[in-house]
Structures are given as C-alpha cells and as structure tokens.
C-alpha cells in the first residue's frame, strides 16, 4: 500500500509531501524524506512493555501498575515538574496542561532550551514574521543567522528558500541571494553569496552595527566589529536595502549564545529598521516537529507559551525562575514527569543529577539516555506514524499528522488521561 502526502514527524519543517510504502503493517519504503526523517520512519527499536525499578532492578510491569505508581508519585509531590511535550501532538499536550493545573506543577517544554529567548524577544518587541509559503514565492534575499539548515533542517532550502521554485521567480537559484552568519564555515555557509564569520558571542554587536548603518549612522561604527570588517557589513546592508523581500532565519547560534534574547531582540529591531526601506521578515528555525504546537497549546490554555508554574493555583510565568534548567539546577523539583523528549541526552550534568536523585517517570516509545534517570518508563504509540493528531510547523501553520500503521500501544493522550483521572481521585477531586 502506498500512502502519499504524509507529514514527517521529525523537525520543524514538517514536510507534508512524504510518500510511504506499507507492507504487512510495516513501513518498508520512504520517498521525498531527508536522512533524518527517513531514520525515524525506518527505526525498529522500541520499548515493548512499561518498566519500573524494583530493588535496584528493572522489571516489566503492567500499564495499570505503571500508571498507578506515576499518579502516586506526582500527587504526593510539593514541587512536581512536567517536562518535554515537543514530540507529541496537541491533543495530548492539552491533557498535559490539565494535569499540571491539577497537580499545582511546573510545566515546561523543550522550547526552554532552544527558542525560549526568541519568545522573550518577541514579547518585548513583537514578531514581523510570515509563513514559509511567502518566503518561497517572494524572498529574493535569505539570511541564515546562527543556523545550519543543510545539516539540521535538510529540506528547508529545497522546500522553502534557495532551491524552491517561487511564483515570482524565473530562476530561483540565480535570482535569490543567500547571506550566512556563523562562527564557522558550515555546510550552509559554503553556498552563501556573502558569509559573515563572527567571533563567538559577537552577534549582538554585529546586529547593532547593522542597525546603525541601515539608518545612515555608520560613522559611529568602529573599523571592525566582532571580527567582521566594516566594509563587509556595508556590503550586507546594501544587499538588504536592494532586496525586494528579505527573509531572516535564525537558529540556536543566536538564541542560545551570549546575550540570548537580547540578540533576537536586536535582530527583530534590525528587521523593523529594514522595513522602513523595503520588505523584511524574521523567523525562528524551530527544532522538534511540534515544539511550536506546545507553545500554542499552553498559550491558549494558560496565557504563556512555556515555563508555567501552577503551584499557586494560577499560571505564573517567569523564564529564569520557572524554566526547567533553572529549577533543576536549584534542585527545586521533588518529582518529575518527562514526556516526548530526552533531557538525559541534552541537559547539563547538575540538572541530570537532580533528576536521578528524585522520582522521575518517562513516557516515551524508546529507551534513551533519560531512561537511565527514571524510576518508571511507559512506552506509547508514535505520533505521525501510529497515531493521528495536530502539530504546528515552525511558521505556526497547523498540520494534521497521519496514522499510517496499526498499533497496540496506547497513545500519549490515553496514558495522560488515565494519570490525570487517578491524580484527581487521589486528591479527592474526582
């Protein structure tokens, strides 16, 4: 059986033109997909049963027992932390927010360790953004800043920018200019018309200099800024001002380096400045396929996009105080639930040590580095392959994920619903 136009559950590009070949309820062929998505579709390794540590050893347990233990741990905690969410669908995330409110928990997503600063900047100065379709059809200048899409979002260039056919272009490859800003000559930098190699941590200074130059005050800018010559900056300013439609894409190279949200704010204000002369937009290169979706869900339910603390019964948001890395580094949580992400592979050592020291539960289809920190792990169906649901692309466009094979595993939503129901009973709130 051939299934066409399947959205890929890997990165924020959420490419929805994948063709899958299914034989005996297994995916045996993948077309149009990049190497990253391909590996996810064809992966065979997964956890078959819920597991729990008993007397220092992993034992297989039933779903009922694992859910009961999870509910017991979470309802007894005074500072529970619910983390992850970017690798599951919106309907499950809705249940997660209900669970957080019921528990008086902190709830945070992987946004906290990727584009958290981008959101802080947007909350300060707004977001002159657009959908990827606009960029594909109109942008004659694309700036990749602190990101390397050829390796991290492999189809971004061919679907939305440099190599994509555009409605208003005769020849996109020659008609579109590409500027890359990075600390090293990445694969993407090699295809750039202009590559700015900035000293690590110097992005803010470059952005300030560009803003001053766009408004005609290049006179105050020193001869070199963060390793970049003023002449090169002037060339880039000229390219930007000559463009009919410029699109800036930025990655963690700006959002998670020195200056963090101040870098993004400066980039947004550069885009605002350029909009006095021509048309410019700016967008974040979001990572997980549904990291944007969690921001949407939490915003429409709690008013804030990530890092919400329900401990006082109301939604409180203050990154730095309620963000996952900060609370773990301060050793605040006394229980932790991880769903659809892998902090064990990505978090700083002090944070992981604290997760290992408190009861931690993971809901995830696969054994991963986080498993080693857990007391309980519950395997589930894989969104976009075994369960249908909504996900948001990196530009905020919702796309329906498809179910392509049958499974006996419960979904994230089913497990979370049962945990939530049991917690309500334990709290006498059923």
């Amino acid at each position: 059986m051939i299934i066409e136009d399947v959205p890929c559950p890997f990165c924020g590009c959420l490419c929805d033109d994948i063709t899958l070949t299914i034989k005996n309820n297994r995916i045996v062929g993948v077309e149009n997909c990049c190497v990253l998505g391909n590996a996810k579709y064809l992966s065979k390794q997964r956890l078959k049963h819920p597991i729990m540590r008993k007397e220092g050893k992993w034992v297989e347990v039933s779903f009922d027992e694992a859910i009961e233990e999870t509910a017991r741990i979470l309802s007894g905690a005074t500072r529970p932390l619910l983390y992850g969410w970017s690798g599951t669908y919106n309907e499950a995330q809705v249940t997660a927010v209900h669970l957080a409110e019921e528990l008086g928990a902190l709830i945070d997503s992987t946004t906290s360790v990727c584009h958290n600063p981008s959101i802080l900047a947007i909350q300060e100065v707004g977001h002159p953004g657009c959908t990827l379709g606009q960029v594909k059809n109109r942008a004659d200048l694309v700036i990749y800043w602190g990101c390397n899409p050829i390796e991290a979002h492999p189809r971004h260039l061919s679907r939305y920018t440099t190599y994509a056919d555009g409605y208003f272009f005769e020849n996109t490859v020659s008609d579109r200019k590409v500027v890359v800003v990075d600390v090293r000559e990445s694969e993407t930098a090699k295809i750039a018309d202009e590559f700015i190699q900035v000293k690590p941590g110097g992005d803010y200074l470059i952005l300030s200099a560009l803003r001053a130059m766009v408004r005609g005050r290049g006179d105050v800018v020193p001869a070199t800024v963060a390793g970049v010559k003023k002449e090169q900056l002037q060339r880039v300013v000229d390219l930007c001002q000559k463009a009919r439609y410029g699109a800036v894409f930025f990655g963690l190279g700006v959002s998670m380096t020195r200056g963090k949200y101040k870098n993004i704010r400066n980039a947004i204000e550069l885009v605002s400045e350029l909009n006095r002369k021509t048309k410019f937009t700016i967008s974040a290169m979001r990572g997980h396929y549904n990291v944007y979706g969690f921001n949407e869900v939490l915003t429409w339910m709690a008013g804030y996009p990530f890092a919400v603390d329900f401990s006082r019964g109301i939604a409180f948001y203050n990154p730095g105080e309620t963000t996952v890395i900060d609370v773990l580094a301060r050793k605040e949580p006394d229980a932790c639930l991880v769903v659809a992400s892998d902090p064990g592979a990505h978090f700083p050592k002090t944070c992981i040590e604290h997760m290992a020291a408190i009861p931690t539960i993971q809901i995830d289809p696969c054994v991963n580095p986080t498993t080693a920190l857990c007391q309980v792990q519950i395997p589930v169906a894989i969104t976009g392959i075994e369960v249908a649901g909504t996900a948001y692309r990196m530009d905020g466009v919702p796309i329906r994920m498809k179910k392509v094979v049958e499974t006996e595993f419960p979904t994230d939503k089913q497990i979370l619903d049962r945990i939530c129901e049991r917690v309500r009973e334990l709290n006498g709130n059923g």
Binding site: L205, R217, V220, G259, F310, Y317, P319, E332
Partner: protein
C-alpha cells in the same frame, strides 16, 4: 511594632517559599499571613516563630526582622508602602517587588529580581545580588521607576534592564548587559562590566571600572571630570535613536 520572624529548619530547604505577605502593611493590618511552600498553602506560623512586640499606629512604625534560612523565600516586601524589613541572611527572588516606600536591608545576598519594578523606598544589600536587579518583568516596557538600590557586592546579568527612574549604586562588578534598554534614572557601577547600556534610549550611567565589549553604536562626545576622575562621555544607543548618557573610566571593544 517590632516583628521578629525566626524560620525553622525545613525538611527540604530547597523547595521555594512564596511569602509576598511578609510586609509591614500586612502585619499592621493584622491579616492572617499565608505563604506557599511549593504547591501547599499554609500559615507563616506553621514554619516559623513569630514574635511581636509593641504596637503601631501605621505601617511605617512596623519593623520586621527575618532570621534563619530565608535564601529560598521569594517576594518578601512585595508591594510594601512603608516600614522596614531587615533580613539577617540571604533572601530569595523578587525581594521588594513593586515597593513604593519604606526600606529593606539585606545583610546577606539577594537572588534575582531584587527591587523589580520598584517605585519608591530604598533597598540596601550588603552581599551580592542576582540577575535582573532593579529590572522589569518579561515583556514589560519599564523596570525600576523610582526609589534607590545599593548593592555593596556584585550583581548578575541584565542589572537594571528597562530601568526608567530611580537611582542604583553597584559597588562591585556587574555581569553582562547592565542597563540594557535603559529609559531613565541613574545607575552607578563602581566596578567592571560588559556590554553596558545596550539599546539604551535615555538615562545616565557611570562606570568607574572597565567597560568591556562596548556596544559599537555609541557616539563619543568627549571627556568630563567627575570626582577628580576623567570619564569618557558617550551618547546613544545610536542604533536605537537613543540619547542616553554613558560615562566610562576605561573601555574596550570586541574588534
């Protein structure tokens, strides 16, 4: 009225406590003082001894003293209008949030957001202060608006972000980006700092130490003599069409 709060040792001293009711105003009104330990609400006398001596005819006559481990107690002195609070040890985040009068003296160090969005009164911190000292809330346009903060030690990153009024003196060093988006008020840094006054639009900042990695979009005006010291006078941030005044004793660029 003298209120002495002696905090007991807690089973898990790492769980944060939100204690926005510890203010002279609340003790003067005689309200029940409720705090939150993690997600559990309880009375303050469930985790501390409270000793009250004398009477007060206004909140201004209430003096609170906090003893014991208060390093994880947040929001102490929030919204206070008068009176005084003395903290013998360290204090948690958001101490003196929105205060409009009275005084807070911290004998130890303070965590983040000390004097966030304060309007009046004074805070003196004898130790160090964390990030966002005298700053604002996320997405807010104004940080501290009035009153004064003095930190005898050093402060963390983003000190006085969005500051719009009042006076801050930091006797030690600052982290990255002090006075970012500054809109008014006066900040005096006696030690070193980096990336000072990024994107400022108005206000005045003095750096008596070394200002590292200066923002490259400030216009050099000249030199001035202040307290017998030659300071370089800059105006900016030009990138932001700003006209704030930045005076630095020594400076360098990331070139």
């Amino acid at each position: 009225m003298k209120v002495t709060i002696t905090l007991w040792d807690r089973d898990n001293p790492l769980i944060p406590v939100e204690a926005e009711m510890i203010t002279p105003d609340a003790f003067f009104s005689g309200e029940e003082i409720i705090i939150a330990v993690g997600n559990r609400h309880m009375r303050l006398d469930g985790i501390a001894d409270i000793h009250i001596e004398g009477e007060a005819s206004s909140a201004a006559e209430v003096a609170i003293e906090i003893r014991g481990d208060s390093a994880r107690f947040k929001r102490v002195g929030e919204m206070m209008t008068a009176g005084s609070i003395t903290i013998e040890g360290d204090i948690g985040m958001h101490c003196g949030n929105f205060m409009s009068g009275g005084s807070i003296e911290i004998l130890g160090s303070a965590d983040g957001w000390l004097g966030r969005e304060m309007k009046g009164g004074e805070i003196i911190c004898h130790g160090d202060a964390g990030d966002y000292c005298g700053a604002g809330y996320r997405g807010g346009r104004k940080g501290m608006r009035g009153g004064s903060i003095e930190v005898v030690g050093s402060v963390g990153d983003f000190a006085c972000e969005h500051i719009a009024g009042g006076e801050v003196i930091i006797r030690g060093n600052t982290g990255d980006y002090p006075c970012a988006e500054m809109k008014g008020g006066t900040v005096i840094i006696l030690g070193d700092c980096s990336r000072v006054c990024a994107n400022m639009s108005a206000g005045t900042c003095y750096v008596y130490g070394y200002a590292d990695e200066m923002i490259p979009t400030f216009e050099r005006i000249g030199c001035v003599d202040r307290d017998g010291l030659q300071l370089h006078h800059f105006r900016g941030d030009v990138a932001n069409r700003g006209h704030g005044d930045l005076y630095v004793a020594r400076y360098g660029y990331l070139s």
